[in-house]
Point group: C2
């Protein structure tokens, strides 16, 4: 089944204990598209500037990603983000952000994109996310991502959007902030009452928790002996989840449990290298192999 | 099969966002004994002073705990600890510690205790832990607990002990410190090479990870909507693990996976109230019920 992502395409400058990279490919849309492309065909909606290197477009095309919704803004510059991770890499500091073309991002979906069945609204302004959702013709499953910035500054818009999507994915800090509750489990219940039937809370190196109706399911992170760069882990996790459900069409608890495992595995490849380096060479068989290993790791 | 614990019996003064308690029953030995007593008979080795309230001894006796190894030191005072938890309760500050009788703790095991098959050496000075281990006659399984204090100040003694025990249980911070490695998975491999065939790393609200020979197994924490006091969570986790293996005698990977689930469940009862309040009223059937729920929570 078809899968659409709307989000940011970025040029990132990243420092981790394992190295420093300048102006490398990043952004939620990039991580999600390339991650999900391992499992299924992806349609991308985003914006780039004149400065966006042709090699990155080649990479997307090589992964069979449909770029009909990727707008190159004449005279514009690509969104840029710079961040530095602490030694343990469980926290990071944003050094600077240049919104550039993302500041005026008002995506018009290509006609055929509006019929897409699975939609991932990557982290972004809820106004833009709503604008995209309004263009969709009866999607089967919409997963929304957000962050503290919008929880703090655009709460009303976000709440209105929450009542219209099927699922919400965010990290534990954001979940606590959205629910005004330090206890993650009760915070998750509170958020469920705001609308989304499905809630996924990402906890970085500690895995993720799913709440599907009233049922919880938790997975640890994939056990890796080396993590080089956590950037994109959340978006590649989401890409594995959405890629899996777009392939199986199974939105039952069992289907979503399997999707959580695929999310974990795709994210595990992502963090093993900088930028998209960990994902570009990965085939479906590599994912299947780690899914088998990981299933063993968590199975009683 | 028989189960022995050597550790501290304490009077704790604890402050959490849910309240404040003064001079309540605490200590690794208390949490472990009462936790494991839900599943099996426990032998306790520890020391108390003249000030130790009779009601706590009644509580231990009611749980059928063998107190032949609990020494009351005439003219001595019971070990005391005071701590305060941060709002999220994932970190705590020790306000003060009075070692009292624990400062001269040199336990002589009752003769019949020396034949115990399962031994838990709760957190303590490696010299004392070694002194106890030396008195044991061929125990079947010895699990050791430790903390940063001993890793930093008694490393050589601890390493010598590590080569003599079957398993080590410690938290993630301590594992990283012991292995000098920020990556938890590679830190666990390093520790395994120091001797213990079985390694359990506790991650508080994020669950625990087992390394058994070369196989990992991870469990999340039990999903609780209210945690009142995390004190004793680690020792009650260990009590569920050891209680379970003492009952089944199964030290295979499958047996230990099951034990990790029991540990998680016993710890979940512990943190729902202050001091031993969450554990004292719990029967085996209560544990079995949560084991079923939890199994559902983590099963693919």
């Amino acid at each position: 089944m078809s899968l659409l992502v709307v989000g940011s395409v970025a040029l990132d400058t990243v420092t981790t204990p394992h190295g420093h990279r300048e102006n490398v490919l990043g952004g939620s849309c990039s991580f999600f598209s390339v991650g999900a492309s391992i499992l299924t065909r992806v349609r991308m909606v985003g914006a780039i500037g004149d400065d966006f290197p042709e090699e990155h477009l080649s990479l997307f095309r090589k992964r069979n990603i449909d770029l009909a919704g990727l707008e190159r803004v004449r005279g514009g510059k690509t969104f840029r983000w710079a961040g530095r991770y602490q030694p343990r890499m469980d926290t990071r500091e944003t050094l600077w952000t240049d919104l550039n073309v993302l500041g005026r991002f008002k995506p018009e979906l290509p006609t055929e994109f509006r019929e897409t069945e699975f939609l991932f609204l990557a982290n972004g302004d809820p106004v833009t996310q709503t604008y995209v959702l309004d263009q969709m013709k009866n999607p089967r499953f919409v997963l929304l991502d957000t962050m503290n910035l919008w929880i703090d500054t655009a709460r009303e818009k976000l709440l209105a959007l929450l009542s219209r999507v099927d699922g919400l994915i965010l990290n534990d800090e954001e979940a606590r902030s959205l629910a005004h509750d330090e206890n993650l489990i009760s915070a998750m219940r509170t958020i469920r009452r705001l609308g989304p039937k499905i809630l996924i809370v990402k906890k970085g190196e500690h895995g993720a928790v799913l709440l599907h109706d009233d049922r919880y399911f938790a997975v640890p992170a994939y056990p890796l002996v080396e993590v080089k760069d956590p950037t994109g882990a959340g978006d590649s996790f989401a890409s594995g989840v959405m890629g899996r459900v777009a392939v199986t069409g199974d939105l039952s608890l069992a289907g979503l449990k399997s999707a959580m495992v695929f999310g974990t595995v795709v994210a595990s490849f992502c963090v093993e290298d900088f930028s998209l380096g960990g994902l570009v060479g990965i085939a479906e068989a590599d994912v299947e192999r780690r899914v088998t290993d990981f299933t063993d790791f968590i199975r009683l």
